[in-house]
């Protein structure tokens, strides 16, 4: 052992190696082909795997951000091309590939084609939300463009039948994978439009490998969906699979079953809506009738309606009352007159000369019958007649005495 050599710590050594690797331009952006093995996805979302060929292996890591963009599910045994940077992980003293992209072997060209088509159609506006048509709320006929074999069509039939059996299903059987599939799918969509066979189209298929789903990344299918006058739901594969068809369609469903749920309402919900209408109509009508009944009751309480003779009776009473007033007025007038007559008669009586005579006075008249009012009017020898209350006496005047002066002294 040559002790003259400088002694490095482990960290120093690993850092030195890391520095060497990091300076290598090839290693900072490398493409490496191999087979996936020991593929593991950690709860953190990071993917850890080994790339190997017949003689060698390479540890790899793909961080969550990049891994979430994977369009396929990597599995051990799969041939892939990995892109990334090779560097040292100082803690373990091991170098590894920090993978940023992973392509299945042989899919490289397709993947490129997919990205190119997607970019082109997007630029053309085929994915524009403005072109998306609303789905019918209650589709009467649904055209299903898919394989008549396979689970997808049965899943859709089952769910559509349970939710909304009133929709008639028209299955347009097509191949959904293989070289013929895109032309058949596109042809069926055009045919459904030409003969207006339905008011909604569902096209798709169940899950599979990215190659299996490839027909739905075909430009012919994309253009047929875009041109469709009938709204289209695209339902391809499983949740993470997004095809060009999904982008173009009026609505994307994550799976065929999900498409069936989107396509039709749930009859249970609609029955509830109907029950709600029934209740509301009933209540408002009952309220209305109750209000009318209330008004009717109020009218019934009025006696006029209750007893038809009441009005007559009331009039009769009215008449009686008036008559009574008239009679008593007349009576008052008569008695007033009677009283004034009595007063008049009394004063007449008081003035009567006969009444004065009864008190002991006598009235003197001359021989011509005229009243003698003054002693001065008489002379001795005149004849006068004295009238008493009970008779008269002829008399002769002896003397006349005037007592005027004495009286006024």
């Amino acid at each position: 052992m040559n002790m003259d050599r400088p002694v490095l710590s482990v960290t120093e050594l690993n850092e030195r190696i890391k520095g060497l690797l990091d300076r290598d331009p090839l290693l900072s952006e490398v493409c490496v082909r191999g087979e996936l093995s020991n593929y593991k996805i950690y709860p953190s979302g990071h993917h850890y795997f080994t790339l190997k060929d017949s003689e060698s292996s390479l540890r790899c890591v793909m961080f969550r951000t990049q891994a979430s963009k994977l369009r396929f599910r990597p599995e051990s045994g799969m041939g892939v091309t990995a892109y990334g940077r090779v560097t040292v992980y100082p803690r373990d003293g091991a170098y590894q590939l920090y993978c940023t992209q992973l392509m299945p072997e042989g899919m490289g060209d397709l993947q490129v084609a997919y990205e190119q088509l997607k970019a082109r159609l997007e630029a053309e506006g085929l994915f524009d939300p403005a072109h998306k048509k609303p789905l019918p709320l209650f589709p009467q006929k649904i055209a299903i463009v898919t394989s008549s074999a396979g689970a997808a069509v049965h899943d859709m039939m089952r769910i559509l039948g349970r939710r909304w059996p009133m929709s008639k299903l028209l299955v347009l059987p097509v191949r959904v994978q293989g070289a013929e599939a895109p032309a058949e799918i596109a042809g069926a969509i055009r045919y459904a439009n030409e003969f207006k066979v339905a008011d909604l189209i569902i096209t798709g298929r169940g899950g599979g490998s990215i190659e299996d789903l490839w027909a739905f990344n075909d430009e012919r299918v994309a253009r047929a969906i875009f041109a469709s006058e009938i709204p289209v739901i695209s339902a391809v594969g499983h949740e993470p699979d997004v095809t060009i068809s999904d982008y173009v369609a009026d609505r994307r469903a994550s799976t065929p079953s999900n498409a069936a749920e989107i396509a039709v309402p749930d009859q249970n919900e609609i029955r509830e809506v109907l029950a709600g209408y029934a209740l509301r109509a009933d209540q408002s009508e009952r309220k209305r009738l109750e209000a009318l009944r209330e008004r009717l009751r109020a009218l019934e309480d009025k006696r006029v309606l209750n007893d038809p003779s009441a009005a007559l009776e009331m009039r009769r009473q009215d008449l009686d009352h008036r008559l009574q007033r008239l009679l008593s007025a007349e009576e008052r007038i008569v008695s007033a007159r009677r009283q004034s007559f009595v007063r008049l008669a009394a004063s007449l009586d008081a003035m009567s000369p006969l009444r004065v005579l009864r008190r002991g006075y006598a009235v003197a008249t001359d021989d011509r019958g005229a009243l003698v009012r003054s002693a001065a009017a008489l002379s001795a020898g005149d004849r006068v007649k004295l009238r008493f209350t009970d008779g008269a006496a002829d008399c002769r005047v002896e003397t006349v005495e005037n007592d005027t002066e004495e009286r006024y002294v």
């Binding site: 039939m157 059996p165 299903l169 045919y191 009859q267 029955r271 109907l274 029934a278 509301r280 209305r288």
Partner: protein, 76 residues
């Protein structure tokens, strides 16, 4: 408007209209009773449609003259 011509969707829309009308309560009695009767009939028919509905599935094939032909759907 005859009931017979209304689709389920139209029936539902009509029902909505009728119920709103009734709830406003500004119709003469005779009109509101007529509406109520119409609504009841629509409700009955909608429920009957739902109860009677049986899913129809056909296979659509291109006929000899290109016209669509409906065939029974069978598992393949």
């Amino acid at each position: 408007m005859s009931d017979k011509e209304l689709s389920f969707e139209q029936s539902l829309a009509r029902l909505d209209e009728i119920v709103r009308h009734l709830e406003k309560g500004d119709l003469p009695l005779q009109d509101s009773l007529t509406l109520f009767t119409e609504g009841t009939a629509l409700l009955k028919r909608c429920n009957e449609m739902l109860d009677a509905a049986e899913q129809t599935v056909v296979k659509l094939k291109k006929g000899p003259d290109r016209e669509p032909v409906e065939l029974p759907f069978e598992d393949e």
